[in-house]
């Protein structure tokens, strides 16, 4: 569904990603693991077209999205839940969701589905996004991305700074999306928070591909994780 093919990218002249290749199937959760600065967030920005690629390509469902201008990329069905949530502050919850709905012309039914996943947001529709609690903001960031009926979903540290009950809520939504056939690329520092839901794990080191293995292998032998991400 979502495929990165030998992607080189970076900020200005500082190259971060070096020949990175990844493949996420529909209905699969791929967890991208790596140390700070390994290039996880950069990978997501490169997929969204927010960083120009030096070479390589990003393909979504047969479309080479890396050839498109950045604002066209989400219109092909990539929902992005960025690190730090990055809601449109000053806009209400309803307006943030409206922007998500407009990306692919989703209707009211999609909004209702999304709000059924996050009933808390329904009560806060007219509240300004920045006045929500941390957990609610994460719900809104997730809901905003789901509003565009994504084929692929990128989640960058969705559990950062959240209490356990919120982490559980987010995790359940991710699992539901997988069941609906969405390709999910998940970046997470806290391995234990996501290992239980991931199907496969891809390691990334200094912007290069590391091993890719079934999550099952890591659940049984935790030492592999320590070798890649341990201090």
């Amino acid at each position: 569904m979502l495929e990165l093919d030998a992607v080189n990218a970076g900020y200005g002249r500082a190259q971060v990603l070096r020949d990175l290749s990844l493949k996420v199937e529909a209905g699969e959760i791929l967890c991208l693991l790596g140390r700070n600065g390994a290039g996880k967030t950069t990978t997501m920005q490169a997929i969204m077209g927010l960083l120009p690629l030096m070479s390589g390509r990003v393909v979504l469902d047969g479309t080479e999205v890396s050839r498109l201008p950045p604002h066209e990329v989400p219109r092909h069905g990539i929902g992005y839940i960025p690190q730090g949530r990055r809601l449109f502050s000053g806009l209400t919850v309803a307006q943030n969701l409206e922007i998500g709905l407009r990306v692919r012309g989703s209707g009211k039914d999609v909004l209702e589905e999304v709000l059924d996943l996050f009933p808390r947001l329904r009560e806060r529709m007219d509240q300004k996004a920045q006045t929500l609690s941390g957990g609610e903001q994460q719900m809104l960031a997730t809901a905003r991305a789901l509003c565009l009926r994504p084929k692929a979903l990128l989640l960058d540290e969705p559990t950062e700074g959240l209490q356990p009950s919120m982490i559980e809520a987010i995790r359940q939504v991710i699992v539901k999306m997988r069941a609906a056939g969405v390709a999910i690329l998940l970046v997470e520092q806290r391995v234990d928070a996501v290992l239980s839901v991931a199907d496969r794990v891809a390691f990334i080191e200094n912007g290069r591909n590391g091993d890719v293995m079934p999550a099952e292998a890591l659940r049984q032998d935790h030492s592999i994780v320590d070798r890649y991400v341990g201090v």
Partner: protein, 308 residues
């Protein structure tokens, strides 16, 4: 005549200044807020509006109202189109880098100014107001028969000046409605909040930028069309509105539209009153001093929020 009527007269003159200033400054503030671009050429867009208004009024002829109404429509559209073109051909190519944008808009300032000098010439030319009745304003005093009204000599305004204040109010409400209620306003506010996320949610940021730059310049041009029957069009007339707009935008809070309007009314009125009672130079000195104080004690401006 006692002091009261003088203050009223000065306030009315100040209100006209405030109205025109509010429109110009809101244009500047909109551009800075959404695009984070400091547009030094803003005053030249104002001047272009006035000069184009003169050309249009000359071409149309007939009753002054015809030429004026035509100018009111054509000047903002033409100036907006020029600004949008400048955005797409210059600012976009330098990637809206803050320093290079300032240098580029300084360049734009001189290009527009000198081209106007070469074509329109160094003369100051008036545009006739569509209507201009003198209105005497009554004042009151406690006379022998108690409270009574009379018309002091010299205390008057014109219908056109009142119309300028009214028109500016209507346009400002229009800008507010556009930002708060329309689809394009929502896209502008989302772009202002987070440019990258706007892109990641399918907002064509480049087109939003060109539109915002065009609207900002068009507002300055509209303000100039309104003032040109009172002030005359001249190729150097952009300097004062630019300085005052920056003063207003800094005091009001960069990118805050309500703050800009409040500061414009405050600066416009105080400029009018101080100019009448003391001197225009003192008014500018005090306004600039206020900017200094605001920058020292409240850098985000009176109504601004700290950078997120």
């Amino acid at each position: 005549m006692e002091l009261g009527p003088y203050i009223l007269l000065a306030s009315l003159e100040g209100a006209v200044t405030a109205a025109v200033l509010a429109l110009t400054a809101v244009g500047l503030s909109l551009v800075f807020g959404v695009m984070r671009v400091v547009n030094i050429a803003h005053g030249e867009f104002f001047m272009l509006g006035a000069v184009i208004a003169w050309f249009v009024a000359q071409t149309v002829g007939g009753h002054p109202a015809l030429g004026f109404v035509a100018a009111l429509v054509i000047a903002p559209l033409v100036v907006g189109a020029i600004a949008a073109a400048a955005d797409m051909t210059i600012l976009k190519r330098i990637d809206y880098d803050p320093e290079r944008t300032i240098v580029a808009t300084i360049g734009l300032l001189y290009i527009i100014q000198q081209l106007t000098l070469m074509t329109y010439g160094p003369e100051a030319r008036p545009v006739e107001a569509p209507f201009n009745q003198r209105l005497a304003i009554p004042w009151f005093e406690w006379g022998e028969e108690g409270f009574e009204f009379y018309f002091p000599w010299g205390l008057s305004t014109t219908t056109y000046k009142l119309a300028v204040i009214g028109a500016a109010g209507v346009v400002l409400v229009g800008v507010w409605l556009m930002m708060a209620r329309t689809r394009i306003g929502l896209l502008m506010r989302a772009t202002q909040a987070d440019r990258d996320m706007a892109l990641a949610f399918g907002i064509p940021v480049e087109r939003v930028y060109a539109l915002v730059f065009g609207i900002g310049a068009a507002l300055a041009a509209l303000a100039a069309v309104l003032i040109v029957p009172i002030q005359q069009a001249h190729y150097l007339m952009g300097a004062d509105p630019l300085l005052l707009s920056f003063i207003v935008v800094i005091i009001g809070g960069l990118g805050s539209l309500p703050g800009t309007v409040v500061a414009a009314i405050f600066i416009g009125l105080s400029d009018g009153i101080i100019s009448v009672f003391f001197s225009p130079t003192l008014a500018k000195i005090l306004a600039t001093l206020l900017v200094g104080l605001v920058l020292v004690f409240r850098p985000q401006g009176l109504f601004g929020t700290r950078a997120a």
